[in-house]
Amino acid sequence: MSASGRTGSAAPPLARRRLLAGAAAGAAALAAGGCARGASTSAQPGTTSISNDNATWDDGYRAAGRELKKHTGYALRPLSNPSVTSYQQVVQMTLQTSKSSDLVKWASGYQLKRLARAGGLTDLTPVWDAYADRGWVRRASRDAFAYRGKVYGVPLYESYYVLFYSKPVFAKLGLSVPGSWDALLHCAEVLKRNGITPFLASQVGGWPAIEWFQELVSKTDPGFYQRLVDGEASYTDEPARRAMDVWHDFMRKGWMTAPDFDQARGPGALKEGTVGLFLHGTWQASGMSAVGMEPGSGYGAFLLPTLRPGTPRSVIAESGVFAVPSRASSHDAAMANVGAWLDPSVQRVWSDFLQDSSANPKVRASNPVVAGLQRDIARDRARALVRYWEASPPSLVQGNTNDLGGFMAGQTSPAETLRRMQERAGDEWAAWKKDEA
C-alpha cells in the first residue's frame, strides 16, 4: 500500500474524530453558556431589569425608567414574555435561582400571597410604610400587597372596572349616562331596538368570564362580595343568586355578545356602533385611543349603577405590583427603584403612558375620562373592592372562572353554576387554610 493510500485510508477516521471533537466542544460551549447567567438578567450598570408579561408596556417602562434614573441613578430594562401562562412559570422557577430579574411584575392579592408563600421575595414593608407616610398609597389596600403581615409588593398601577361607551352613538340615540339601574335597563333596551348589542361579555382567554360576575355581585351587595371572596359567605346565598339571575336575564334578552367575542375587538365594535357598552378595566383607555377614539369626545366611561338605589357605592379595582426577588442580581438598585416608583414625577410619566389612573392617589390621571371616574369615585366614597381574580386563592378562582365560562356558553343554569362554585370554594378554602396552618 502506497503512502498516499495509507493517508487516504486514514483520512476518514481522522475527519470523523475531528467532527466528533468539534461537536463535543460545541456542545460543551453551549452547555457552559447555558449554565452561565443569562445576559438578559445579568447586572448591567445604571439599569434594573424588570420581568413583564405585557410587551406593549415596554416603552412606558423605559419612559418611566428615564424619570426614575433622575432619582435613583437606575433606569428600567423591560424583559417581556407576552404569554401570561409561560410568564408565570418562568417567574416562579427563576425566583429560586440566581437568574431572576431585578424586578418582577405580578398580580396583587392571593396571587402575590401564593408567590410570597413559596419564598424568594424581599420584604418591602419599610418601603410601603414610607409611601403610606407620604400618602402615596391607600393604607386600606395594604392587605392586597401583604402576606402574614409583611408587604411583598408595591403598587404598579391601579385600574377600575367601568363601562366604556361611544359618545357619538349615545348622542345619536339620545342616550345619557345612566345614573340608576332602571336608566341602565332603558339604555340597553334602546340600544337593542337599534340593532346594537347592549353589552360586551366574553370568556375568550378564560379570565374575562369573571367581569360580569364580580360587577353584578358587588353592585348587588358590596359587603356580600367582600365576604364571599374572603370565604365567609356562600356562592348559593341570595345576593349571588340575584346577580346571576340578572346576568342570565340579560343573556336571554340578547343583550350580551356571544361568549366567543374577542375583547380585543371591543374598542372597534364600540366605534362602529355594533356594541353599546364595554365592561373592562380603565387600562383599556389606551386601546380606545388606538382605534382613533378621543377621550371625552369619542368615548366616555361610567361605573355600573347599583341594582337598588340604597346599595352602597363600590368599584372593582385591579392592582398590579412590583416585587423584588431576594436573589436579584442588582438588589440594591431594585430596592432604590421600588422606593421611588410612586414618586409623583415618575407616576406622571407612567400614568400618561397608560392613559390610566396611577396607583398613587395624589397623581391625577391626565386622561379626562379616567380623571372624571377618579373624581366620581372620591365624591361617592365608592368602596374599592379587589378584583375577583386576585381576591381568593388562585386554584379556587381558576376553577370558578371555568364554571362561569361554562355558564356563559349556556352549559349550566345559574343555580347549578353557583352550586359548583360553592362546592369548589369549600374544598379550596379548606386546602388554603390547611396550608397556612
Binding site: T85, D260, F407, A409, G410, K434
Partner: protein, 319 residues
Amino acid sequence: MSTRTTDRRSPAADGAPAADRPAPARPAPARTGSGTRERLTAGMFLAPAVLLVALFLLAPFGWTVHRSFFSDTRTSPFSWFENYALFASDPALTRSVQNTLMWVVGTVVLPFVLGLAIACMTDASRLSRFARLCVVLPYALSGSAVAVVWNFMLTTDGAVNQVLTNVGLGSFAQGWLLTWPGNTVVMILANAWQATGVAVILFLVGLRSIPPETLEAGALDGANGWQQFRHVVLPQLRPVSIIVIGMSLVNGLKSFDLIWVLTQGGPGRATETLAVSMYNETFLELRPGAGAAIAVVLTVIVLAASWFYLRRQLDVKGV
C-alpha cells in the same frame, strides 16, 4: 488464537468426508480481552443515545410517576392514588376522557377514509398534481396557524355564520365553538382538514408500489372497478394503512395545539382532551400532582394502544 483458527477450518479441509465428522462446533467466543473491548466500544457508541433518552425521557417520566402519588397541598404528602381517583370524581376529567375518545375515533377514521379516497381519485386524474397540492398544503402549516384560521371562521360572528346568513341559511348559524359535543366535532373536522394531507401522501406511495400486473390479472378475471379496489388494491395497501392508522391513533390521543388555540379547553372545560387537561391542571389550576396523574394515564393509554395495535398488525403481516 490457535483454537479459533482450527475451528474456522472447513471440515473437508482435513481430507475426510464431512458426513463422518462430528458437526463443527460453533465458533468459540472471542478472547475475553477482545470481547470486553468490543463491548466497551459498542457501549461507548450507544452511551450518548442511551444517556439522552434516560436523561430527557425516562428520568422525567419516572419523576412524573413519583409526583402523581403526592398531594397538591403545600406540604405535598404521599396520597396514594388520590390524584388518580379524580378520574372518577371530577366531571371535567370524565368529559376530557370522552373528548379524547371522540378525537381518537375522528382522527383515525377521517384522515384514513378521506386520505384513501383522495389518493385513489387523484392518482390517475389529469389534475392530480394540483389536487394533491391543495390537499397536502395544509399539512405543511403549523397547528397553531391552522387554529387561528379556523377561529376566524368558527366564532359566532365569524366567516361561516356570515356566509350562512348571506345565502339565506341564517337559521343554521350558531356558536360552533360554544356547545358540546358540536365544538369538539368541528375541531376534529378542522384537524382532519390538516391531517389528511399526510395520509394522502402515504397512500399515494402505497398505490405506486402496487404492481400493475395484479390489477391486469384481476381485470382478466372479470373483476369490476370496486372488486379490484376491494380485493386487489386494498390488501396491498395494508402496510401503508397500518402506518396511517398508527400515526393517527397517537395524534388523536395527544391532540393539543388546535384545541388550545381555538378554545383553550373551554367554554368551562367542555372541549378539553387529556393532553389539555394535563396542562390545565398543572399550570392553570396549579395542581401538579393531578397533572402528573393525567400525564401517566395518557402515557399508558398511548403506549398500550400503540403496542396492541402494532403488535397485532405487524404480527399478522409477519413483518
